[in-house]
Amino acid sequence: MIYNRSELGDGIGFTSVIDDKFKTRSLAVYLLTELDAETAAVNDIAAEILTVSNSRFTTYAAMCEKLSELYGAGLGSSARKKGDAQILGLKASWLDNRYAIDGEDINGEMLSIIRDCLFSPNAKDGAFDEASFAIIQKDLLDRIDSEFNQKNVYASIQAARLAYRGEPAACASYGTKEGALAATPADAYRAYRELLRTAQIEIYYVSPEKDDTFSEMFRQCFGGIEREPRKVNIRSRSPLKAVPETITEEFDVNQSKAVMAFKTDSDDRYALKMLSIIYGETPFSKLFLNVREKMSLCYHCTSRSVSVKGSFFVDIGVDRSNIERAREEILKQLDGIRAGGVTDEEIENSLMALDNAVLQVGDTPSSYISWFFDCFCDGEIMTPEVHFRRFCDVTKERIVAAAASLRPDSTYIMLNREVQG
């Protein structure tokens, strides 16, 4: 694998990864901006609309037809949040020319399509094409409505809203229903122009051979854009609530759910991750072995550390009558770690799991992109091996200290409605 990162302009990074084992090429363009409930929805629409049509393929139908002619090339967008940042992405992947049966230049065609999507979008008179806008706006409104379809997803969203209340991260990565309803094609176009001017931009290209055509295209196209990039605050510790809060909702569901949020003032993200692995991320974790296997209370009970926000979550699906028992056991297991209940074997096993996981980086184009983009967000580019060595330095004492730093912040509970007798 050959890695290279260069600056194409002010706040514009271009990372190229060459790996000859792949049959495909992949590209991701990430626009990083401050997550804000006022602008999140219109930003999301602006990014999504780019992949529906452009100045050459002016309808969604025409765009889809072209992409399927190119052997089902993928072109899509994404919105996610990391800390207090909104990350809007355009992603594409396609077969390398070697696999084109009729000798088509798939690479060249995709370069043109992506260039036009980003720099010659389907817009006129300062507004995006109305038909494309309508499709994307409806999609976003439906996505917001369908949050409630997946109960575990809904419970996690509600838990984040509660834990981060008053902070940018309380907002979903795609914004609010009000924001989506209020947006117009002109608003979305303005939002896109503003993103091109102010967002931090990171571009990733994974190909089986050296190919400078994409970096050249981006350098040239961005050269014509006046840039005033704004620093985005990804890492921002969420304050602990003065008094832990609980929000409970009741629905006609079969299973109750609870998401417990903790806050930490620890900056030791490696120890927090090791803590999470030992406490609740794996089938050899304390929550799995005790809450699930020993007590048979649940099918899933897991933990995760969100170090950029200084928060830590535990979620569980459980019978309403067992919520308290489960909560007591979850806290008891945490107290056990705080009291030094971590074995050398648990640390060794966690390192083995991490070692296996980091070695798999590079087995798919998307794993390269995720790896280098996460490094960028963390402010330090390193190899998976160096990253792993940081975990090897984590001692039992650091894990115990990480557990001791967790303070209960809030709990979201979804109850299954009790049938009245």
């Binding site: 084992k21 139908a61 992947s93 409505d145 649940c298 296996n356 087995d363």
Partner: protein, 425 residues
Amino acid sequence: MEKEIITGSRTGDSCIHVRHSSGLEIFICEMKGFSSIEALFGTKYGSVNTMFRTSEDKEYTTVPEGIAHFLEHKLFENEDCGVFELYARTGASGNAFTSFDKTCYLFSCSKNYEDNLRILLDFVQKPYFTKENVDKEMGIIGQEIKMTGDNPEWRVFFNMLSGMFREHPVKTDIAGTVESIARIDAELLYKCYNTFYNLNNMVLSIAGNISADKVLEICDECLRPCGDNGLETVFPDEPAEIVRGEIREKLPVGASIFDLGYKCAPRSGREMLRAAAAASVISSLLSDPAQPMCERLLKEGIVNSTFGGEVFYGSGYFTLNFSGESDRPEAVREAIFAEIDRLVAEGIDEKDFQRIKKSSYGMLIRELNNVEAVANLMLNSYMEDVGPYDAIDMLSELTADDVAELMRSELRRDRCVLSVIEKEE
């Protein structure tokens, strides 16, 4: 024990196939440049296999719904310790799944694959069921059943299957019900295990950063030969007709969803693969935003980007389904009916057909780029009695007439079921 090299004619990709002396079929793909390893050890035993006998049985045995899935859970516990504890020591990520027609145990790792393979082959061949450990599992699986019961996509799909199938067990949830699993005990689990976990009914598929010779050496060391038990699985007679054309249920959801499916004649082997390829083209034709019907539905806001189609098939069932979010699923049904009528009457545009074939070819090539996908590809080819690279060849041989014929003969309005999950008011 002979190594057969299977090579895909279009891409030159190849894998090794071995019929092991123990009775097990083994597929191995050495993938140069990749770090990870994916291994699946599977049996042709899924939720639909509720009635069976071996050459030693006079009568057929009928077992409670959900037992294949229950067995999968219990096999993770051996006499000395849990299997996850063993994988914890090697760093592998171990898991398992039960579907309608198979149960698979798997691991993925990038180190110590030899030890992981020994763990996998050993625990799957070493059942340990007791009253205590069976009773303990009831609570965990009970919660899993409740969790999936709250998943509207799961519910809308099974409601559709219950409208389609009168007798076939495919209509029943893979995990069974809280009531059906209560009838499972250690004895019944052993009966099912001894019937279906015979190596003559099983496959090992392993891909990635491996040596085929080393894999075979470990197989020689760990596999315990077993005689063919003459396994026969039977399914109740299933009429061609559906049970009900429309099923609606109100649930606490944010967006209404639908599943619309056509019941088609079941098939097997290469005939099934050929029909699946043709049905997949139909699915693309009808859910492709490049086509006028889908373009109109999107413009009118009747569907959104969740609209799509899939072919669902296995032992004794074959269906073509369309699903998505919509407040007007009847309008989607009408549009699909009208479009099928038009395509049957006017024929399929050759340009559209070739374009969709290209797109499908691209997807198949991409699978070969991924260790996990390659391991699953080889496993599924065994389960479907076809070769690992047959799908690409089958696709290239497919004609627009094949597709039109399947559409004309199978996609009948009276064999169509619409299942809807509606928002509660």
